[in-house]
Amino acid sequence: MKRKSLFFAMLAVAGMGPAVRADYVTTFSVPPYVLDESVVGIDGWENRFPAKDDKAAYAARVVALRWNDYKPGLMLRGGSLKRTNFGAKVGDKQKVTVQLAVNFAEGRSGKALRVIFWPATFGEIFFDQGPGGGLGYQGDGTGTKGQGTIVVPKEVIRVNSFYTFTVLLDYSQQTYDITVTGVKKDGAPFRYSAAGVAFEPSKSKAAKIDSLLIVGTGYLGALSVESLAPIPAKTLP
């Protein structure tokens, strides 16, 4: 976190401010999203695989979430979605925000929900229902295919309650900061953060988010990818 503070301090000295530009933002609440309708075919969402049965029609739908004061959310029932085109990134930093909730899906013993940003700069955000599992993220900069970092253990998770993952990507440094907030099963607030985590190694240095895959069962309340670009202060409104 120190590094980020230093970054903003330097901007201030240089007479520049950090600007946020929404490359893609949704809360699944406004058109073209339609309540009780599938997201497939709208706003860039596609089935990752061809639909096999009638369940595909309702695998990924916008619903009014009763346990969230009837706010809309993307309800996944074993869906496998893909979205590309996150706009043109500006600058070397991006912020990704994902709000997700889970319950304990029937018959699942491994990763019941995966939110994968491609190329896999910070791996993925997941819910692992296996032994020792929970909510976590994958990328730790080592490139090893481990279990990832469990942030909220299964026994602590409050089902059907949103956890917000905020990831600040620094492409110049090839690192990211991650923060997870929410409420624990017992109602106590939850917060986790890690700073300066290295991107997963790849042949070419990751420079932007190209696509997003969502696989599994759970709920998404909000999703955004935003550029954090240093822009001269005089251009700010």
């Binding site: 309702y58 619903v63 979430l65 319950n103 304990f104 899906a105 229902q129 089902v159 059907n160």
Partner: protein, 412 residues
Amino acid sequence: MKLNPMNMGALIALAAAINGPFAEANSPNPKPDNMPFTIDAKFPGGNIVVDKVAGDTVHLSPDLTGTLQPWFYWYFRVQGAGGRTLTFVFNKNYVGVRGPGVSLDEGLSWNWLGADAVKEGAFSYTFPAGTNAVRFSVGMPYVHANLERFLVKHRGRPDLHIDTLTKTPKGRDVMLLRVGNMKKKAPYAIAVTGRHHCCEMMASYVLEGVLEGALADDAAGRWLREHADFLFVPFMDTDGVEDGNQGKNRAPHDHNRDYIGTPIYREVAALKERLPAWAAGRPLVFLDLHNPALKTDIHEVVHFLEPEARDQAARLDKFTTFLERNQQGPLIYSQQHTMRIGTGYNSPKDGPSSRWAQALPNTILGVTLETPYANASGCEVNMDSAKEFGRDIAVALKDFLRDHSRAVVEKK
């Protein structure tokens, strides 16, 4: 040695005789671990037999009065044990998979103590200092007062009518609730019953959830009240619920085996007369809510019992498709868990209420739902999650009836 749990004066005397706590309490400087404590079941739903008290270890078992075979319902209160750790020992078959339910507020709210706290039917509990009373149960008891607390929020609503089905043998009112537009008949009738087996308290939270869904000021609730009239009988064995009976396998047969021939229970007789008259030939959905056995296998899975009639079985599949598709609660229904007729314990025998309802000429779906006591395919069953499942059922009823009404229109 067994004591009648209704005679708790004797029980307290027993505890005193074995522990000598009263004498200790009267000494100038009583030690916390020697302070007297009492165990009783003198409250609605209470049930316990104290077999033995040895120091800080209490051996207990359920009171099976009136029951044909061993069952596992128990519910007791400990008072005066603040700061002390006691161990309670049951037959291991009488403690569920998440341990006992524990309430620190006289039964208003409950939490599971946890599986780790139980070993071979025994669990220890350290009573918080200053705590006056702690209640323990095999589940999370739900009695008439629970429903009253829910109804307080809705009393006075024009779409809720509180009525009485009949009087119990002990003179209690058997509550009957109607939800819908009282000024006109809706095209569909939905009847929901609970506690034919009075010990099956977790089903009451599901029923409350369905009731809440029927009364909800949301799209599903409004649709349901416009298109369906609801009839709820939350406590078919009201005396058993309040008196803390097992109810399951009650001698000579229990309330849910009384739907054959002339009923021996007046509540059953009253429902058999009232429900068809109320439905008045309208397409009827009948839902009877239960809990299965305490643990293992199918008893830790939410499941419907498939009706024998093929048309109703197909409609159950339709209903559970909607449920599986739209459910938002923590408890997950999976259609593959529907217990098909002729499998498991779902045999085509007469006697259960749902079998009786299925045979009514206007019934489009009559079905029994079994919701586990504590664990549903890995999800915790508790007051909230069971209620949420009831809400999911209400929404699925809306989807099912809307689909049914469209199909009827298309057929015409």
